[in-house]
Symmetry: D2
Subunit: 350 residues, 4 copies
Amino acid sequence: MAGSTTGHMFRVTTWGESHGPAVGCVIDGCPPGLRLDASVVQRELDRRKPGQAKTSTTRREADICEILSGVFEGKTTGTPISILVWNKDARSGAYEDIKDLFRPGHGDLSYQARYGIRDWRGGGRASARETIGRVAAGAVAGQLLFEKGIAVRVFTLALGGVKAEKLDMEAVHGNPYGCPDSEAALAMDARVEEVKKAGDSIGGLVELWIDGLPAGLGDPVFDKLDGDLASAMMGIGAVKSVEIGAGFAVADLKGSESNDAMAAQGFLSNNSGGILAGISSGARVVLRLAVKPIPSIGIPQQTVDIHGAPATIVTRGRHDVSAIPRILPVAEAMAKLVIADHMLRWRAIQ
Amino acid sequence: MAGSTTGHMFRVTTWGESHGPAVGCVIDGCPPGLRLDASVVQRELDRRKPGQAKTSTTRREADICEILSGVFEGKTTGTPISILVWNKDARSGAYEDIKDLFRPGHGDLSYQARYGIRDWRGGGRASARETIGRVAAGAVAGQLLFEKGIAVRVFTLALGGVKAEKLDMEAVHGNPYGCPDSEAALAMDARVEEVKKAGDSIGGLVELWIDGLPAGLGDPVFDKLDGDLASAMMGIGAVKSVEIGAGFAVADLKGSESNDAMAAQGFLSNNSGGILAGISSGARVVLRLAVKPIPSIGIPQQTVDIHGAPATIVTRGRHDVSAIPRILPVAEAMAKLVIADHMLRWRAIQ
Amino acid sequence: MAGSTTGHMFRVTTWGESHGPAVGCVIDGCPPGLRLDASVVQRELDRRKPGQAKTSTTRREADICEILSGVFEGKTTGTPISILVWNKDARSGAYEDIKDLFRPGHGDLSYQARYGIRDWRGGGRASARETIGRVAAGAVAGQLLFEKGIAVRVFTLALGGVKAEKLDMEAVHGNPYGCPDSEAALAMDARVEEVKKAGDSIGGLVELWIDGLPAGLGDPVFDKLDGDLASAMMGIGAVKSVEIGAGFAVADLKGSESNDAMAAQGFLSNNSGGILAGISSGARVVLRLAVKPIPSIGIPQQTVDIHGAPATIVTRGRHDVSAIPRILPVAEAMAKLVIADHMLRWRAIQ
Amino acid sequence: MAGSTTGHMFRVTTWGESHGPAVGCVIDGCPPGLRLDASVVQRELDRRKPGQAKTSTTRREADICEILSGVFEGKTTGTPISILVWNKDARSGAYEDIKDLFRPGHGDLSYQARYGIRDWRGGGRASARETIGRVAAGAVAGQLLFEKGIAVRVFTLALGGVKAEKLDMEAVHGNPYGCPDSEAALAMDARVEEVKKAGDSIGGLVELWIDGLPAGLGDPVFDKLDGDLASAMMGIGAVKSVEIGAGFAVADLKGSESNDAMAAQGFLSNNSGGILAGISSGARVVLRLAVKPIPSIGIPQQTVDIHGAPATIVTRGRHDVSAIPRILPVAEAMAKLVIADHMLRWRAIQ
């Protein structure tokens, strides 16, 4: 029943509910001597903060983090780093009248089945607010990786059926959707507007690139790099599919097509997505995630209450229209946690 | 560097190389009093044994298992169950002349990078023979689940571009490919014949159904049921994509389409694939895997040797043409291990 | 390098330094539905609070705890319980001038060797203030055990050479030393007075009794109940010896003396201390700990600085004269954590 | 219920029952490139083999080990090392007529309570034969430590009340009791003779020295070096007390006596036993264990059967008179496992 900790060497525990007093994380195993202050963490939290794109909830949280331990005179000491963010703009009233209904697509039913009790306010522990702890921890991991020349990039491949046709990394930060195709981003914007008006929500595709990884990362046979990345990504609320490299497409390839030939300069293709037999090959690691639409919508839906009686529900509250783009820093953080942990396990970071 | 153990309560460690003396597993945490004898394990090992479909290697192994501990008078005692299978038909000669070359699509390069040394005979630890330990352990887990009315089914959705058009569970065991569409199975057979002749290999799609799960299984937020299943599946050698429920397709759905409405009789659809917020919902758990073609092919490929010098390689040896169907019992075993572990963690099994 | 988490099912992570902003813990895996409010935790924290016996530091901390997550409407929800206590009366000035000296008997040298950096203020992470997180978590575990009829008692067998001659449990709470012999407690008081005047410190002996345990608790062969209790106790700052049952004395016994004969009414003696082959036998679990004197003393000591140069040090600051009695609630808390974890692992608690 | 694995980075799982087909272990996480062959392991197994001292059982086992994986061309490959020893001279007949009786001082009752079923032949999993796996794994760990200049020594301080008065390390291997005092060893021999005649058994004291450890080893606050060593030692069948450094004696010391002063050349005393705040200080690590008498004796004892009915039992079979000296290589092995694991966790071994 204790599932809130991830990592072996770089170990992260998150805690907190959407409408409780605060959310946060404890990072244990961060090497000593790493430069760290709250601004490093704050920068990443600001990326996932609500209210920056049209897709976002109108809940207003400054999400200011406090580092409560593990840092002394601007450097980590090797002891646990506790990071806390207070919840301020929680409005539980909107949830009061649906507290006995199971919202379709949400974890209400499954949490109730598991625990027999749940904090129904704002999704409780299943809320996206839980990811604050992940993003904060990912920011610390990111500092470690930065020093090793490892970079994680994440962008939106598709949103509500609108696909990026170009992969222009310069464009990614120039639009609110993290899309590497500026024109597609405009079309996404229009799509969001339209869906919002209809009270509906949309899904999309997200891609991650991890560059600078040494070959040799990953522990066969159950703690493989691809296995751990898949777990980290599938464990993000809205993700229903994880692909590595050519991913789904390998089903239709022949061996002579899918094998990545090698030459003196390196691999001649990257269908493997940078991972062979669960261990990094030195090529770019490529991941693709399918993100389901936000389940909270303004359209009436058929459901049951906690006693099994049929009911109709409209999930008001202040909700995102899509988990994209706010899921981007979360996916990036999870990738960083996995990589930092494996780097430490392999002693590629001292 | 210790990645050969999976599970927390139902903990499995596999060991062994393709051309070493033996392969096996140790299962720790199996509840006492479970009826178990070697025949239960043998039945599952026979399913993954080489030589049963045209896709298979011609290596001939009887793969007879011995249970060395943890069972007394036909019942488990709660102590570790050690299962061993001797390697008999290993022919290392075929590997001797390519031992310094990195086979494209294989783990040679990544293992070399990680360990600086590797048993090059038959793929060593990265060989499919390692899955014997998984399948043996899965057979034990399966006994536990059977007593709880939980059933795992696995079948081939597509092979080398040939797709099953029907999901006839009766048909699955009537053809060598585990295909739920008898006609498609014939076409698959023709496809295999053709690819084999060309010295090439093919990939495909596999689907798993888990029925009988209680709602409430899965530990938020990092040991979720979907995260653990994704890790288990992506950690199987040839798998490059894992989907749950509607999977990849959710990217194009709207919330009003992807949400599974509920009525007194249960869910009215199953886009969630039986998992909500990482916890089972009581609906069927549905997983889909994309399986890459076997990287060993008879066609010359461009590669490098361990010193980085360019070379051409033909990977002879005795190889499967596709990981399908032999991957089916492996995927099934991994699913059983994850479920058994979560059932014990949740105390749904005493 | 991540060693701040203990337990498998009832998993506790502590964080925080003596002179940082706060200290605390996260408890993951506490079953849902347990009655819990801050007062339950506060009661235990008050027992370890400084300033209640002559042995204690004059640091004045109210040590008021806040529960930040995992509790809803007075009951646990099964999600992580985050508990925080702010540090208020930290005075780092006293440490400023000895920050480059290794205090004898303290962890200064070993922490420096491990991390190359340390928060020298008040002992940093090696301070007794870290135990606040343990005691808070132990209070939650204690609630669980209380409902199962399991009671942990702890008392002072000896202090500064003064030994309890009686084991009168009524007397334990009637004196500031937790001594089961009221007369001995008076002699302990005189001893403390005398040692304090001399600027010195003293050690002692502590005993724990765990009653109400079912037979069958403990996981052979490496997670035995006695092994886990020994680890928990030896991991408390000042403890240098752990005995179970007859303990050290078994070395001089014969088998015919040390074996506990059994009759219909139970065991006829308890040399085993309630544990056989690492598993509880149903008899009272008995543990004995030797506690070393507080290393901070007012008497000049010979030492070296971080560069290895010889120096003389007087460790001023506000220190306890003995870890007893403040170590009593810490040892009790650690015992509760071990028992709660094993009860959950064995599914003796649902 | 899975307690047969120890270590995080150097992870060891033991399996096997006394009268099952075999016993063994799997070592996962051993670094690649370590010279290893069966003779290294055999040497240590020979030290714990029955029949070398008068204290020993007359069971005759050659205890020849086979290494089944993880070693290629005389070197470890980084993959799991599986080691197996067949049971040959098991005679279950002697146990047949006491299979329903709980032997005093043994784990019969506690195993029965835990599992509701047990392999009663020869103590099953609770037999000393389980330690074969530990000793084999310890031999591998020892190879690692040897390369780092770390040495573990173990000797008998007392046996059946006869105490070593000298600590002459040369003498240790010159007598069958591992006693550092040759004269005391003779007295021990006489004592054993006498006790054997009486059908009784005896306990004793064992001491371990670990030299060559770097300062800085150990993970605060729950995976401390002293906590992990205490767990490892207390988890050995017959051990009822573990002391570190001055151990039990600290209870009577003053701070000015127990603190180890430091000078340029190092510590001026070693009451801390080489561990400060749970982390190695660079001084010799000193451990002392109290070992209880073997519970199997030829003298009738009062007990109950599995239904609770009173009975008298004589535990025939072929038993040691004392766990000493055969416990020596086991304690040494456990120390090596803990140290190797911590060296890897701290990246002091690459």
